[in-house]
């Protein structure tokens, strides 16, 4: 189903849709408040954008530097060209270590690679340990947001899921009660897991270490208990220097949730005694994006989710309407790279209002990238013939001023005389919830002519 169809469905329940819009707007407002406390906010964004641009333009060097230093830290570094290779590498490692159960903290990359179903098929139990991720995992749903995976759910829905899956009391919806129940259940999983998988927020070329940011400490708990820790990262997660963190850690949480900093920003530079840390660096189409100058900027993304919270379309259609692991404006820019036919409606799921561009902490020109995709998808033949015909004809008329004037006059003469049923029918999509404009008797050009005669 295309985005418009899913959005229309989402908006059918107006009470729910309004709640969803307000919940995300609240996060946006928290972000506004947090960022307004930093007078240097705009300079921080500039600095972050410059660091990321520099890094992407020198990516090969920084990746090699990272690999070398990671080896010196005793880490094992693996390279995966795509999702399939990534999943193989992770599975092989787990099988080699005879792992039956893993705990996984939030990693959009493993979602992108669909790692969970792959591991489950191979007999490995996967427990997502981020609370939001755990909720959607129990419900067998994909996350609807990259930072707030269960933001589409009301607490009553979570209560029902927990009653069914974790045996909580029916009808109890207090957040403290539900969180405690999840905590108790997850504690057992942490203690019985044979390996941990985490994502990577920032990998440092200079030190060969990496940083994982969470609010629940679940990555730390997961990585501290079992001996095997696998960290999965997209190859754009590199930062050149440790000091660059002073820019990015300040931007990330403020943009994401309006916190000054995530509760836990954990730095990994050495495996625990007797343990192993493996880093899987994944391309999965990223090196293709680097070769397209108009889309290169999208690789700066630090996955804060601010563009989702601010997007008036995301707030009114929900993450699942994008039918892609990463939804919202950044998702709409990334998705068509992998499958333009499947995701062709996403770059059009925007008014190009530019709020995403202005909110982005690393200054990705998101609305311009959406525009670039529209043009590219059209050139690739992914636009409907009807739409193309109408726009072709309109553009043709706009090059013939006399014809344009005559057609305008014709419309202004005829349309006001038509009975309503001839204007408002199933083909007039504009008129479903809107009246058409009141046509004036004279055009501006006609008014001018009259004025000149006087």
């Amino acid at each position: 189903m295309s985005h418009p169809a899913k959005a229309e469905h989402f908006l059918k329940d107006q009470t729910y849709a309004k709640w969803h819009d307000k919940a995300l707007w609240f996060v946006r407002q928290k972000r506004d408040k947090a960022t307004s406390k930093l007078p240097e906010w705009e300079s921080l964004r500039d600095a972050a954008a410059k660091i990321k641009e520099h890094t992407i333009n020198n990516l090969a060097n920084y990746l090699e530097e990272f690999e070398k230093n990671a080896h010196e830290n005793g880490f094992h570094v693996h390279w995966a060209k795509d999702a399939e290779e990534h999943n193989h590498i992770v599975n092989d490692l787990l099988q080699k270590h005879k792992v039956k159960k893993i705990v996984k903290s939030k990693s959009m990359l493993t979602e992108e690679c669909h790692l969970n179903p792959y591991l489950e098929k191979n007999g490995i139990e996967v427990i997502d340990t981020d609370l939001g991720e755990r909720i959607v995992q129990l419900r067998k749903e994909p996350p609807s947001h990259i930072v707030l995976p269960a933001i589409h759910l009301r607490r009553e829905q979570v209560s029902e899921t927990f009653h069914e899956k974790l045996g909580t009391e029916k009808g109890r919806c207090e957040p403290e009660y539900l969180t405690e129940a999840a905590r108790q259940a997850l504690r057992k999983d942490f203690l019985s897991a044979d390996a941990a998988i985490t994502g990577v927020n920032f990998a440092l070329a200079e030190t060969g270490g990496f940083v994982v940011c969470t609010n629940e400490g679940n990555a730390d708990l997961g990585a501290s208990l079992p001996k095997l820790h696998i960290a999965c990262m997209g190859l754009e997660k590199i930062l050149p220097k440790a000091k660059d963190l002073s820019v990015f850690l300040r931007l990330l949480a403020r943009s994401a949730t309006g916190q000054a900093i995530t509760s836990y920003s954990s730095h990994f530079h050495k495996a625990q005694d007797g343990g192993e840390i493996h880093i899987v660096i994944v391309d999965n189409g990223r090196s293709q994006i680097i070769q397209q100058p108009e889309f290169l900027n999208s690789l700066k993304c630090i996955r804060c989710g601010a563009c989702m919270n601010t997007c008036p379309i995301y707030r009114r259609s929900g993450g699942h309407s994008y039918n892609n692991v990463v939804p919202g404006p950044i998702g709409s820019v990334l998705a068509p790279h992998s499958d333009p036919q499947k995701h062709k409606s996403l770059p059009f799921a925007s008014t190009l209002c530019g709020s995403c561009t202005d909110v982005c902490p690393v200054k990705i020109d998101l609305h311009n990238q959406l525009l670039a995709w529209r043009s590219k998808l059209t050139k690739q033949g992914h636009i409907s013939i009807l739409k193309k015909t109408i726009l072709n004809a309109t553009a043709w008329v706009f090059q013939k001023p006399s014809l344009y004037n005559a057609l305008g006059k014709l419309a202004r003469t005829i349309v006001p005389r038509l009975p309503r049923f001839m204007i408002y029918h199933s083909l007039n999509v504009w008129g479903k919830q809107r009246e058409i404009p009141v046509f004036p008797k004279e055009s501006f050009k006609e008014m001018l002519k009259k004025r000149e005669r006087k």
């Binding site: 959005a7 960022t35 259609s317 059009f348 799921a349 190009l352 059209t378 193309k388 008014m447």
Partner: protein
């Protein structure tokens, strides 16, 4: 504006003439090409951009009573025109309020409008032309449109909950994503209504056409005016 909102266009013309500006309205003009460009049909926008340049390049200034058309010329003609032509055109093309504030430096608007007015900030004027600070960025607050409206006697600008959320028009988006487009429009209208606006104004008639269309369907209409109609004293209830 020529076909649907001639009164607003006349207000612009009269305002500029009263200030002693020698204004010409080139009759052969039609459309800047934005609808095609924003729909992905940049090949169709190209001849329109070139037409626009041929018609308007001879003037000292090009003044356009629309933020989104101005931003098409200023921010998106680069792919259609030669660098020289593009630079020349974009440096002299201004949105109407921007021209009044930045070029004419007007601080003595002679108009009265004794109503509570809600200002709809159209997105391209806001985030591409920077006619005001957007709420996403931490820039010092300013607004060129408010600056002008505040000079109108007896006007009261109401405070909105979401001062710069998009109305949902978005060109062909209004039709291709009809459900969201109208939902966004309704939310904007509700915000203005709750703030006690008796009139809504803005710099883009496309946004106002969309909002007005929704209100007339529901029967509860807050009258809409292009900002030029208020500044020139033509707006009346």
């Amino acid at each position: 504006m020529d076909q649907l909102y001639p009164k607003a266009a006349m207000a612009v013309l009269e305002f500029l003439e009263k200030r002693g500006i020698d204004v010409e309205y080139p009759r052969e003009q039609t459309c800047c090409g934005q609808p095609m460009s924003n729909s992905g049909c940049s090949d169709q926008a190209k001849p329109l951009a070139n037409r626009f340049e041929e018609i308007f390049s001879k003037y000292d200034y090009v003044v356009c009573p629309s933020g989104s058309c101005t931003s098409m010329v200023r921010c998106h003609y680069g792919e259609h025109l030669t660098t020289e032509k593009n630079e020349n055109l974009k440096n002299k093309t201004f949105e109407f309020c921007e021209f009044l504030v930045d070029i004419l430096k007007i601080d003595d608007i002679d108009a009265s409008f004794p109503y509570r007015v809600g200002l709809h900030q159209s997105c391209h004027g806001l985030r591409e032309l920077r006619l005001a600070n957007s709420t996403e960025r931490r820039d010092p607050p300013f607004s060129k449109v408010r600056q002008l409206l505040n000079q109108v006697r007896d006007i009261e600008l109401v405070d909105l909950q979401r001062t710069d959320e998009c109305c949902g028009f978005g060109g062909t988006f209004a039709v291709s994503e009809e459900a969201i487009s109208c939902s966004m429009g309704k939310d904007r209208i509700a915000d203005h209504r709750e703030a006690g606006a008796q009139v809504m104004t803005g710099i883009d008639l496309s946004c106002l056409m969309h909002l007005d269309g929704i209100m007339r369907k529901s029967g509860e209409v807050i009258p809409t005016f292009h900002v030029a109609e208020i500044l020139n004293g033509n707006a009346s209830l």
